[in-house]
């Protein structure tokens, strides 16, 4: 390789490199240490499992959003799509309806379909992703309300087990979250679709001229986002044993925040599943800690805002330092 003589490679320890690339992790560690000192309840096994369970839905939504954000898009519809998928599942599985596995597949299919509609509007209708998915935010929520007549629907018991804890220490939502995270990481790092997402987000025109079928890849990207949203919606409903038409309202901003806190850029081409996971954990730890510390409800919003800003600030400052 033509590493010229003036190229001086400074040796940095692998740990330092890894930390610089995962600045959000530093913020998470600081947060965890701080909360353990402030609240004696924080660092118990059950509480940490609670945090995991509480992070699960946001994390799964955020994994799906990572795909979209890596391509330089945005998906505002994930919260609504999650609710719609769960409602379709529960509504389909009523005693008079389908067997629960069929209903579950239907719920997932609805999520994927919503993603495909987004993608068609974006890739072929040339709508800005913000607008296409904002429209879907309204449409999916509205359909969830129409189907459910505005009332929660009980989930079939088999699906509701997704909200259980196996033994004492293995909450199913945490397992689902980890599995979806690994799937997201593999897709992003190892598959054609994933690598194409980075190329499209980095320079769409260059990707197209390199033979990547940009439109088709966008279909895959948004379909994945919709599918992940459906999974998140079903996990959420299983925790409540009922599908709620108003579930996950506003979660899209949390999901996007988790992705960006995790180091992705909204202009595309950057982002990793592990970072997103850390981002989702930061949000969950924060909410959990503020509850434990009995911070007043009004001040909680202020504190969450400040900590989110600080967490990303830590990251950007680290980056600037090491570059």
């Amino acid at each position: 390789m033509a590493v010229s003589s003036n190229v001086l490679v400074r040796r940095r320890s692998p740990v330092a490199v890894w930390l610089a690339e995962n600045g959000a992790l530093v913020a998470l560690v600081v947060l965890v240490v701080g909360l353990s000192l402030l609240s004696s309840d924080f660092l118990s096994v059950t509480n940490l499992l609670n945090v995991g369970v509480q992070a699960a839905v946001t994390a799964i939504l955020a994994f799906g959003s990572t795909f979209v954000i890596v391509t330089g898009g945005i998906d505002l519809s994930v919260g609504s799509v999650a609710a719609l998928s769960a409602i379709v599942l529960a509504w389909g599985a009523t005693p008079a309806g389908w067997p629960w596995p069929v209903a579950t597949v239907a719920g997932l299919a609805v999520g994927v379909a919503c993603g495909l509609v987004n993608a068609v509007l974006i890739a072929y209708g040339k709508l800005p992703p913000f607008i296409a998915t904002l429209a879907m935010l309204g449409v999916a929520r509205g359909l969830a309300l129409v189907i459910s007549q505005g009332s929660p629907i009980e989930l079939p018991a088999q699906v509701a087990h997704l909200g259980d804890t196996i033994g004492r220490y293995l909450p199913v939502p945490v397992i689902v979250m980890v599995v979806m995270g690994v799937v997201a990481a593999v897709i992003l790092n190892r598959t054609y679709a994933g690598r194409a997402m980075y190329a499209i987000g980095g320079n769409e025109e260059a990707a197209r001229l390199s033979g990547i079928k940009v439109d088709r890849q966008k279909l895959i990207t948004y379909a994945l986002s919709g599918g992940f949203a459906a999974v998140a919606g079903i996990v959420l409903a299983s925790r409540l044993a009922s599908a709620q038409p108003q579930a996950a309202t506003g979660y899209e901003l949390d999901a996007i925040a988790a992705v960006v806190i995790g180091g992705a850029s909204l202009s595309g081409g950057k982002g990793r599943a592990l970072g997103t996971f850390v981002g989702a954990l930061i949000l969950a730890v924060l909410r959990n800690g503020l509850n434990l510390l009995s911070v007043s409800a009004f001040w909680q919003q202020v504190v969450i805002g400040v900590v989110i800003a600080l967490a990303v600030l830590v990251d950007t400052l680290r980056r600037r330092e090491t570059s």
Binding site: N6, L8, A199, G202, N203, E205, A206, R208, G211, G269
Partner: protein
């Protein structure tokens, strides 16, 4: 010494993993054209970015009129009378030509921007550089050459004492280069000090007074512009280059690429030609002749209204890049930043972009195999980088160009369309690219080479097609053609030549 208007002493600049400048000196006199010469990645652009306030040096100092100065921003440089034309375009595509010319200092009346005056000023400036374009046109709609002329006009508007030009001629054709030289000479005679970077060595005696040669981040020599060509090359590359255009014609075989009656309304019309296996076909023409458009259309990047394209006996569906690639076409676009590279991604990623599909089994990409292939091509092209993981954004311009060409080499295209392939590439690397062209054609592949660099077209092609106003106006055998022949054809008035 006393006449120095600007001096740089011992400048150092460290990037992560790269020491770009390692003690560079430069002295600049009023009323001279000072050429900066060096291989791709030698540090030329870094040096002038320090002088213009875009980067801060890690060591060394800059003096103006003998006094040390601190240039911390573009505003500081401007206040000191330093104007810069950067290698990468620094225009705002959405804004009009007039606004770009007045960027950062629009004329104002009663606190409001005075558009009428801005447009009048712009018209005057454009007239000075002899560019005919409506000042109200958004810059994004101009071609790359006219953008460059707008950049030049923008720098002129500052009426600076020091004018820095980083490869201004790279994207210009002969006519425009002449215009630019006339302007530069006039400014020089008015006492402006000019820093001029170019990879076209033949321009140096025409325009330069002194030459500073950079190598690996150090200034290795300061010589008069009259220094012989071979000597300059030796100073720059560290070894002599015996043949600048080492074309070794292969025996033409079957036609690989056939284009029949290709037409796109308002852009080009009735373009027909063939490229045979083992052939290099050059395409010459003035800027805006439509060569780029034809190349993009036959590659499937743009739609066309009529005609057909056949590659290796297979007729290509219009507007389908993927099908074109499958058939064996490859395109190295002229706008490397906008169309050729994912700037934020690593060298390895960019080199593997075209072969991503081929390296995929059951949806999974063989990333290790891709990396090995990328390393091989990077080595072959001599890409100067800190490693395969370096962001392409931070490569020098010429090395970026090598990456764009490299990704098609990895892919093994049968017919490679090169649009301005050596734009911004240093003499040494250029010869390496030519060698590659030779190897491709020797192996029975074909090359269609669009270039505004006439000596290159003449030196490297087997046949030359000439385009003017969206039509093919003639064909010349490269062996007997001269620059004058080509130019005569390119500018000839074509009867009823306006494309409908």
């Amino acid at each position: 010494m006393t006449g120095d208007i600007l001096r740089a002493e011992g400048l150092r600049k460290q990037f992560p993993g790269v020491l770009a400048l390692d003690g560079v000196d430069l002295s600049l006199r009023a009323g001279e054209v000072h050429v900066l010469l060096g291989e791709n990645g030698a540090g030329k652009s870094t040096l002038i970015k320090i002088l213009s306030g875009a980067y801060h040096p890690d060591g060394g100092r800059v003096l103006m009129d003998g006094r040390p100065v601190r240039i911390r921003s573009a505003g500081d440089a401007r206040a000191l009378g330093i104007a810069t034309i950067y290698q990468e375009f620094n225009l705002v595509p959405q804004l009009t030509v007039a606004e770009n010319l007045a960027l950062g200092r629009p004329p104002r009346r009663f606190g409001l921007v005075d558009r009428a005056r801005m447009e009048r000023d712009a018209a005057d400036l454009l007239a000075r550089v002899d560019v005919r374009v409506d000042p109200r046109t958004p810059v994004g709609r101009l071609g790359i050459a006219r953008m460059q002329m707008v950049e030049i006009a923008k720098a002129l508007a500052l009426e600076a004492r020091v004018l820095i030009m980083d490869e201004p001629t790279a994207v210009l054709t002969t006519g425009e280069v002449e215009k630019l030289f006339a302007i530069v000479r006039q400014l020089r005679d008015e006492g402006v000090a000019i820093v001029f970077i170019t990879h076209h060595l033949e321009e140096i005696p025409q325009i330069g007074d002194r030459v500073t040669v950079l190598r690996d981040g150090r200034s290795v020599a300061e010589v008069p512009a009259s220094t012989p060509h071979d000597e300059l090359v030796r100073l720059m590359v560290g070894r002599p280059i015996d043949q600048q255009y080492p074309r070794r014609p292969a025996r033409p075989g079957e036609p690989l690429l056939k284009v029949r009656g290709l037409t796109r309304r308002g852009v080009f019309a009735d373009v027909s030609f063939e490229v045979r296996a083992g052939e290099v076909v050059g395409v010459a023409g003035l800027v805006g002749a439509g060569r780029t458009e034809v190349a993009r259309a036959l590659f499937g990047a743009d739609h066309y209204d009529a005609g057909e394209v056949t590659v290796n006996g297979r007729r290509l569906p219009p507007g389908d890049v993927h099908a074109a690639m499958e058939a064996g076409l490859g395109l190295v676009p002229e706008d490397r930043k906008g169309q050729g590279l994912v700037l934020g991604a690593a060298v390895a990623e960019n080199l593997g972009l075209v072969t991503l599909r081929d390296a995929t089994r059951a949806g999974f990409v063989d990333r290790r195999g891709q990396r090995t292939a990328a390393a091989k091509v990077a080595d072959q092209l001599g890409i100067r980088m800190a490693g395969l993981d370096q962001e392409v954004r931070t490569l020098s311009g010429g090395n970026q160009q090598k990456v764009v060409i490299g990704k098609w080499l990895v892919a093994g295209a049968r017919v490679l369309i090169l649009d301005e392939p050596t734009r911004g590439v240093d003499v040494g690397a250029r010869v390496e690219i030519y060698q590659l062209v030779n190897e491709l054609t020797a192996a029975g592949d074909a090359v269609l080479m669009i270039s505004s660099d006439l000596p290159e077209v003449l030196g490297m092609s087997d046949r030359i097609l000439v385009m003017a106003r969206g039509r093919l106006v003639g064909e010349l055998p490269a062996a007997r053609a001269t620059q004058d022949d080509v130019m005569a054809m390119a500018v000839a008035e074509v009867e009823g030549g306006r494309v409908q």
